[in-house]
Structure formats: C-alpha cells, structure tokens
C-alpha cells in the first residue's frame, strides 16, 4: 500500500482473532493505513483483505454494517449536536434511541448531548466518535488513536466502552503509539514499523505466544 512513492504498508500477512488487538508502532509506521484497509475505506494495491471470509469492499452493505471505525478525525457533523449526530447514525443503522442513551451514558456524554460537535473540545469529540463507532454494535471495531487528547478519566471511559462491547465473535483493533493503556486489556498485540509487522503475539493463560 503506497502514497505516491512512499510505501505505507509492505508485506502484512496476518489473521485477527476474537477480542481486542492492540496495534502499536511509532508515528508513520502504517497503523492508520492498515486500519483503513481493514475498514474497506482503502483498497490494498496488492493482495487481499478478508473479513469473516469475505473480501472487504466498502461497497458491500453486508460487510459495512459489521464495521465500526474511528479515524484521526471524529467523523461527525460539526454543526449537529452530539445527540443529533448519534441519532442520525442510529437511524441509518437501524438502532433504537435506547441504544443512543446507553452509549451516551457509557461515555459520560449526557451533559454535552445538546452541544454542537464543533463546539466540543478535542477530547470530548473523541468520546463522541467512539460512541458513534460502537453504536450499532459492530462485529469489527477499528479505532485509530482513540485515547488522543483524553484525560485519564475519559480514557478509562473509552476503555470501559471497548470492554463492554467485547464479546465472542467480535474483533477490535486499537491503534496507538502509547501502548501502555491498551496492553492492560488487549488479547493480542501487533507491533508495526515502517509498514512491516515485526511482532504479533497473543495472550494466553500462561503468557504470550507468537501469532500469525
């Protein structure tokens, strides 16, 4: 996968398993590009990306409804309030308003529900973005730096939302360059550097084992 002459991802060959996988690496390692490929928002220039055995193509509705994604930006409408944004996406995914209330409480955003997203701080926007991504209970959750700009309390809320979402058959990939927070609850960890996966390990009852 490349941007002009810059190769962002080289040979990435891996299988993701149930649970939360931390995706670690320095800035420019290729974490965001990998998440975009996994979400179907970006097509790999070579090879294939499969989700539940099917080719990930952002054009397929059946695949898209199973993905929750947060990129670098919030993915929200600045001129709509928090509740308007979440209700819009809830309606598009066929999710009830009870679920909207649930995620608002989960991420402690009740107080801000009537505020336009454009007026929120970067940290609060991040929380709403995570709320939007988990709203429809996706099978695959892809979070790119979900802890960016968050204080400790808000980070705990985001972690709690991810843990609440975790269930058998669901896969989350959480990309971050600060590994500490995700390591605490991740079931697997991938270290990526200059577009190459240099380590992929899964947590076992006795420690870690190399995964492929």
């Amino acid at each position: 996968m490349s941007y002009g002459s810059t190769i962002a991802l080289k040979r990435v060959d891996l299988t993701l398993y149930d649970g939360v996988t931390g995706l670690f690496g320095p800035n420019g390692a290729g974490k965001s590009t990998l998440l975009r490929v996994l979400s179907g928002l970006m097509r790999p220039s070579g090879g294939s990306a499969l989700l539940f055995g099917e080719e990930i193509r952002s054009t397929r509705e059946s695949i898209r409804r199973r993905i929750g994604y947060v990129g670098h930006e919030s993915g929200l409408y600045a001129r709509l309030s928090v509740i308007e944004n979440l209700s819009l996406f809830a309606n598009l995914y066929g999710v009830t308003s009870d679920r909207v209330d649930e995620v608002l409480d989960q991420l402690d955003m009740r107080e801000w529900q009537g505020t336009q997203v454009g007026a929120l701080s970067a940290g609060l926007k991040r929380r709403v973005a995570v709320a939007r991504a988990v709203l429809h209970k996706p099978d695959v959750l892809l979070l790119d730096e979900p802890y960016a700009n968050l204080d400790d309390d808000a980070s705990e809320r985001v972690s709690a939302a991810i843990l609440a979402w975790r269930a058998p058959g669901r896969v989350a990939v959480v990309a971050t360059h600060g590994a500490k927070r995700v390591k605490a609850f991740a079931d697997a960890g991938i270290i990526i550097q200059r577009g190459n996966v240099i380590s992929y390990r899964r947590r076992t009852p006795t420690g870690y084992e190399v995964a492929t």
């Binding site: 054009t59 994604y69 001129r79 066929g94 926007k125």
Partner: protein, 241 residues
C-alpha cells in the same frame, strides 16, 4: 428497531444537509450574493427602453435581445450552481464525516441521490429569487408561458445537478476542488445550457410552447437528464471511493 429502507435513509441525509445549511449558511448566501450582483450589473449593461425583439448588430452578426437575456439568465444560474456544488462535501470534510458516511449500510446511489437533492434544493432556492429579479430588471412578461419557463428550468436543473454532484464528488478528493470542479463539469454541461438558452430565448421572443417544442431542444434536455442521472448514480461509487 427495523432498519430503514433506501428512500428513508436518503431522506435522512437530505434533512441532515439542509439542517446543517440552515445553521451554517455556508452555501446559499454566496450563491445568492453572486446572482444578485451579476443580475444588477447585467441590468445596467442593456438600454432601459429595449424590448425583446430588438436586434443588436454585433461584429459576429445580428442578435436578438431575447437571446442575450436568455444567455445572461443561464450563465448566472450556471456559475451560481457551480459555487454551490463546489461545497457539496464541505459538510463532510470539516470533521472527516465522509469516512463514517461511506461505512453506513446504504447503497452509494443513495448518497448520490441525497447530495443531488440537497444541491437541487439550493439551486431552486436561488432560482426562486433570481428569476423574479430578472423579470423585474429585464421587464419579462411571459403570461401563461411562465409555466413553460418553469418546465425548462426543471429539465435543466435535473441534468445540471446530476453532473454537478457527480463531478463535485471527484473534485472533493482534490485540494483545489473549487478550481477543479468547473474544469471537469463545464464540458459536460455545455449541451444542457445551449439547450436551455435556445429554449428560453424562443420563449422570450414570444414563441409559445408549440414553437419552443418544435425545435427539438426539449428532447436534448430530456436525453441528457436521463443519461446523466443514470451515469451519476452508477459512477458515484467509483468517484467517491
């Protein structure tokens, strides 16, 4: 909650765009300001006592005033529309909402239809102001033929919006999208606006529906509308991805 259907989801997206525009007022005011300024300047460019059937001698030949005013009207609409279409995806760009929208379980043709209807709403709003202003400035008296003009406007708007929305989705991927959009869209828009000017000048000259229809331009407009609405809905997926 049962999942909504195609039309319902598309309607939600149209409502969202219109709500955002009501709050931000980023698109309509520049379009209206452009139209009113141009209309005012054009009004000063013609003699006050001129009538539609007057013929102006130009180096390229004689031209009826009706042709000139019809050209004025449609050129103003063309560029006002392009100003609006260039902002089609601005609402998604601000916070990166396009990614979230592209992952929504809705066929891409639904996204195209939503954006096209939002653009149509802005264009119609502008025309609701511009056409009466033109009528006032250029003393347009069409009588019952106003309905024919309305029909021409509807046919032009469909093709114009389809092309504008499709190319806006392409231009949205570029940094200089406001410059790229006219370059991409204008060649495709030329036939539609030639038909629009021809039909409108015939109407301004006093030809009724029968005279206007006899020249075949309605068929050209209908054909382009059909082709571009279909191509837009089908090609949008590739343009936006």
């Amino acid at each position: 909650m049962a999942e909504r259907g195609f039309v319902s989801k598309t309607t939600l997206l149209i409502r969202k765009d219109l709500l955002v525009e009501m709050r931000a007022r980023d698109t309509l005011p520049p379009m209206l300001a452009f139209c009113l300024t141009v209309a005012l300047l054009l009004a000063f460019s013609l003699p006050g006592n001129a009538v539609m059937s007057d013929v102006v001698d130009l180096p390229v030949g004689a031209i009826a005033l009706a042709d000139v005013i019809a050209g004025f009207l449609w050129i103003t609409i063309l560029f006002a529309g392009l100003i609006g279409f260039a902002r089609t995806f601005e609402v998604e760009r601000t916070e990166g909402a396009l990614d979230a929208l592209l992952l929504v379980p809705l066929d891409r043709s639904g996204l195209f239809a939503a954006k096209a209807f939002s653009n149509l709403a802005y264009l119609v709003a502008v025309q609701c102001v511009l056409v009466p202003v033109f009528a006032l400035f250029f003393s347009l008296t069409l009588g019952a033929d106003w309905l024919v003009l309305l029909g021409i406007i509807v046919l032009v708007d469909i093709g114009f919006v389809a092309i504008g929305t499709l190319f806006a989705s392409l231009a949205a991927q570029t940094r200089s999208r406001e410059l790229i959009l006219p370059v991409l869209a204008l060649p495709a828009l030329v036939p539609i606006f030639i038909a629009a000017v021809e039909l409108t000048s015939d109407l301004f000259m006093g030809g009724g529906l029968e005279a206007v229809a006899a020249r075949g331009w309605f068929g050209v407009l209908l054909g382009f509308d059909l082709v571009f609405a279909t191509v837009g809905a089908l090609a949008f997926e590739f343009a936006i991805d």
